[in-house]
Amino acid sequence: MRWQEAPLVPLAAAFALGICSTSWAAAPTSWILVAGATLLTLAACALALGRERVALAGLLALAAALGALRAASEPLPADHIARVALGPLVSVEGRLAEEPVSWAADRTRLLLDADGLRDGPDLRPVSGRLQVTLYGEIAPVGEGQRVALELKLSRPRGFKNPGAFDYPGFLRREGILLVGSGRAESLVALTADDPPWPVRVKRWAVATIGAHLPETSAALMAGLLLGEKTGLSPEASEAFRRAGVYHILAVSGFNVALLASSVFFVLLTLGIPRRATVVVAATALIGFALVVGGQASVLRATVMGLLLLAATLLDRESQLMNALALAVLALLAWRPGDLGEPGFQLSFAATAGIIYLTPTVTDWLSGWSWPKWLATSAAVSLAAQAAVTPVMLAHFNQLSLIGVAANLIVVPLAAVATTLGMLALLAALASVVAADILFQALWLLLLALRASVWAAAQVPVAMVHLPAPGWAAIASWCAALALVPYLNGARRWVRGAELACCGLALALSLWPWVRPGDGNLRVTFLDVGQGDAILVEVPEGPRLLVDGGPAGAQRLDVGERVLAPFLWNLPTARLDAVTLSHPDSDHSGGLRAVLTRFRVREFWENGRWISGTEDTLRAVERSGACRRTLVAGQRLWLGSALLTVLNPDGTRPLDEPPLWGQNEESLVLRLDWRGFSLLLTGDLGAPGEERLLASHAPVRALVLKVGHHGSRYSSTEEFLSATRAAVAVISVGARNPFRHPTPEALGRLEAAGARIYRTDRDGAVILETDGTTLSITRWASGVVDHLALDPERGS
């Protein structure tokens, strides 16, 4: 590729860099404005003086300044709903910005453009977008409809853990500053369901597909054609991810290109004049983009497709890279926040990779006497994979090893299926019978597609998980890719540079795995909302996870979303032991994902399981971990740390229901390492605490994990005075319905003289000790407290 033919690339890069810069350093808008004006003057002067290179440099800097200006957060309008003082339950009116999404049996998510706030009898005009979760069966409503709702509004809150996904930031980029929740019965439709035509088309298409295909295949077809992924089962989505072909389920440039090219070539084949063909294809393209919605990938492909069609019309040679750069500029000028979105990055990285690398790689493969068609498709697959690897690792810690091969089979199948699906939908307009016959043929194809994805996902190391790469690793990888087309020149220094860049990227990626330990013991109380998840890292290497946070059919799977990314980023591939204190879903739920995704050597439990934890139990059985049922009195070594089991005392047979409820049968573990001691109490309540004291168990410890999230029926005065903990950590979710931690428990902890750390306010709480001092980090604020360990304490 010659850079002269893509003059927009540097401009687009400068603009993107400007947007990026606002996240590193936020300069006041007025300063950027002044700087921009200065740059403009300088560039104009340079141009007047005939110094074109200087003018160009000025222009690029100006583009960066414009990007920074565009990304600077706009001031909130005075009537924005986030500014309005709100009561506990408010009555809001607004228009639905998209179709409601049901993400669990009785949970529905709405995107509401608020326009009125009911304040007694009057309606106060407001503005702003809300993301709303409704509980219960909602009345049928659709995009564009005005509705009234009773909501509890709050600021969005993400899990604050090292390397965690910034959920509030993500919502802010989407223009959402407040989230609301309410009961489905409170939803009242104010206008009739009269959606705009793209929504009608989409609904009709989904209904038609559903009428002609069996459930799973219909869900897959809706995903392929329209990006509707809600119907797809979690296992199926996971198989697509493992096989590295998930991108075909997102409506992407792939669909847009297919649509445009099939319309174009079919019409040409039928002998329609070129100009008319171009116009029809362009109309189809725009219509499709409107129907499937405004994801970055669709917009990118539509802009590029329209440019290519225009080039055909004007008989100009089209420059793909230039078209891509224009698409970047247009999209970022419209929605600068998209730059940080994985969807945007994946779409542009894959396209850029394909355009930039495919010719060279095809040459290489053809040089090894591969047939032409195979060389081209393999080159496209390789180029896309190479380009998206850093993005996938940075956002999802995923690297699909089977992806390049799987794409070779799956993409052509998906292409045929998508085209046939469009044809079948077209046919459905005319005749139901013809459509049904086409859908039957399509079913066969979809089965083949599912089978190949499933087979690829079964390969043992189809996908590996690696820690997110740092900037240096990403930069050296990009440099290595940028050098690829110049390798054919066989200049020695290019080869050297290529090798150096590849080596550097590899070394930087491997460094976290081989980094020597610092000899400290680390205990991380992760912020998992209402629930517990505690990781103990012993200096010799062993890792123990105590509980896995909440998950279940109706809520976010913390194991998948919080624990797994945290562990991958450490990095970890193996957990030496996983402990389940008791089977309540806020402790056991997340373990399903942990046991499925990591190698677990031992699983320690109290031996009791309750209904509702079947998924976790099955994951335990399949994980191959050695299971141990612990009872009081047992001692276990974890590296150089000693674990002592204090509860349950084993007096209650396992096949009888517990006397006081499951909580009192919680595993209570004591950990000792040098001068450090930690008491992990699970959800133990007052009766269990009493029993511990009566049995003279060694409960005295430096750090106490407060029992049952700070419930008032835990942490009795007697127990706290026996533990004499200097540090108390409460693992609890913000705004939880149980009102944990309770003022009673907090009062008793304070009276006992413990420093209190709470995961709802402090985010992850990280204890790190070398045996003589203890440092405690509140992750959310970054505040670190230091404590000297008293060697006399343990005696």
């Binding site: 009785d106 199926a236 198989a239 599912r450 509702g612 396992l654 049952h708 419930s711 029926y713």
Partner: protein, 159 residues
Amino acid sequence: MSYSRAQLKLLLLLAGIFLAGLGVREWRADFPAAAERLERFDHEDPPPPIPPAPRSRTAPRWAAARVEATVPALAPQPPRPRTAIAPAPAPADPRPLDINHASLDEIARLPGVGPGLARRIVEERERLGRFDSTEGLRGILGLGPKKLAALREHVTVGE
């Protein structure tokens, strides 16, 4: 015939698709069970529900002495009856049921409470630790205000 080569290709392809579609339709009508199996080839059955009585486990080897003394359930046990789902109304018990200590079966025998609701009540109790009052039952899925009012006469909350 005045078809071009490309047009012929396109038409042949279309005809082939229709032929395949008709064939599949015929086959699916004749063997619906096989078609259903094929459609669900990658489905996994949900795990079996956990029965109320937990199963016995083997003792950890390094604590054999201790465990033998405390876990008597190593011998095979006679099968326990599963939760009784009695369609007939249970004999009325004059004493209110202590919802904080009642077993799943006992709760399921309350008027208007089936095994599903009983399980949700027990889950809620396990999560909360205990109910402070019958108000704590409010909000459990399937327990509306009417049913709750009716239940209040039959239950109490013990310490």
